[in-house]
């Protein structure tokens, strides 16, 4: 095969090859991002912009660490409350709030269906992620409303997340999701 000799021809050929490989990777590689999924849904009616390093503005209820602690005895025991960890499997396995289910926010089709009945029955669905400027809990809540039909009123965000939970010295469970 004759490859172009000019710099322009090489650049065009190389760019085309990279694009084709990138699309193929997106379509074939299961760990690649899905091209059709909106991973960053608009969160409020006004779609307000958030500032650098700040959490996105949202309309969900917010809980603090003490409130979440009070829910712990009910988790997995009744329909009263469900706690969701929106982080990746590696982070969840390393340490999570006891009783929390895991929903990897970037693999919704795989993780949501097993937990959906519990969330639909619950009066409180509390979602957390790493804390700090982690926004995955808020994006997951938005996805649960718009793509899985959950009522916005039952969704709560624990904004402090795992970082604050550890700082407060609250109990932590390890191991894979059940």
């Amino acid at each position: 095969m004759n490859l172009p000799n000019s710099t322009f021809g090489q650049t065009v050929t190389f760019t085309a090859a990279v694009l084709v490989l990138a699309v193929l990777n997106s379509l074939v590689n299961p760990s690649a991002m899905d091209l059709g999924t909106d991973y960053f849904p608009t969160l409020t009616q006004s779609g307000e912009e958030n500032s650098e390093g700040a959490l996105p503005k949202h309309d969900f209820g917010v809980l603090d660490g003490q409130m979440v602690l009070e829910f712990l005895p009910d988790l997995r025991q009744s329909d009263f409350a469900v706690l969701i960890d929106a982080r990746s499997t590696a982070h969840y396995t390393e340490g999570h709030i006891p009783g929390a289910y895991q929903i990897d926010r970037y693999k919704l089709d795989e993780y949501v269906p097993p937990v959906l009945p519990a969330m639909q029955a619950a009066g409180y669905v509390i979602i957390y992620c790493a804390g700090g400027d982690c926004e995955d809990s808020i994006f997951l809540a938005t996805d649960l409303v718009y793509h899985f039909g959950l009522e916005k009123e039952v969704l709560y965000i624990y904004e402090g997340g795992m970082e604050e939970w550890e700082d407060l010295g609250h109990p932590i469970a390890t191991g894979k999701a059940r």
Partner: protein, 160 residues
């Protein structure tokens, strides 16, 4: 009379001659390592790209293609530097991308400075470069070296 032994001066001369080729291979190795690292964790890379706010979120494929495309660009450029195939084209595309990406880092840095009151030398954030949170002025210096190294590997280094 046997074969003349290479003098110290000759060995130094060989090293100087080989240096451009070594830089070419070093650049290839660095780019492949960066590409593999990003490909291993596409979610973190997607989040980092989203933070720059330079790619639209709608239609979704534009932003979502970047975590696949950029690591492939880096790996393919690295391979082009190792094999010599299309290396001028690879260097042109890679250095153009690096210049655009560095400009985006600078713009984001100015945004952070405005919001936090930090000086340029104090700003740190995860630039999506595969190294987590970095000191930005150091990253910009490093990217400048990468652009020069990429151009050298593509256009100045010998074929073999």
């Amino acid at each position: 009379m046997g074969r003349p032994r290479p003098s110290h001066r000759n060995r130094e001369g060989t090293l100087v001659l080989r240096l451009p080729l070594l830089i070419r291979f070093l650049m290839g190795g660095i780019l492949i390592a960066y590409g593999v690292e990003k490909m291993m964790d596409p979610v973190s890379f997607l989040k980092a790209i989203h933070e720059y706010d330079i790619l639209p979120t709608s239609p979704t494929w534009i932003l979502n293609l970047a975590p696949s495309g950029i690591p492939i660009l880096e790996i393919a450029t690295g391979l082009a530097f190792f094999t010599g195939t299309l290396r001028r084209g690879a260097a042109t595309l890679m250095s153009s991308f690096l210049v655009i990406f560095t400009a985006a880092i600078l713009m984001r840095t100015f945004g952070v400075m405005e919001e936090t009151g930090q000086s340029f030398m104090q700003v740190e954030f995860d630039c999506g470069c595969g190294a987590g949170v970095v000191v930005i002025w150091e990253k910009i210096m490093f990217n400048t070296v990468l652009v020069l190294g990429t151009m050298h590997a593509g256009f100045r280094a010998p074929s073999s």
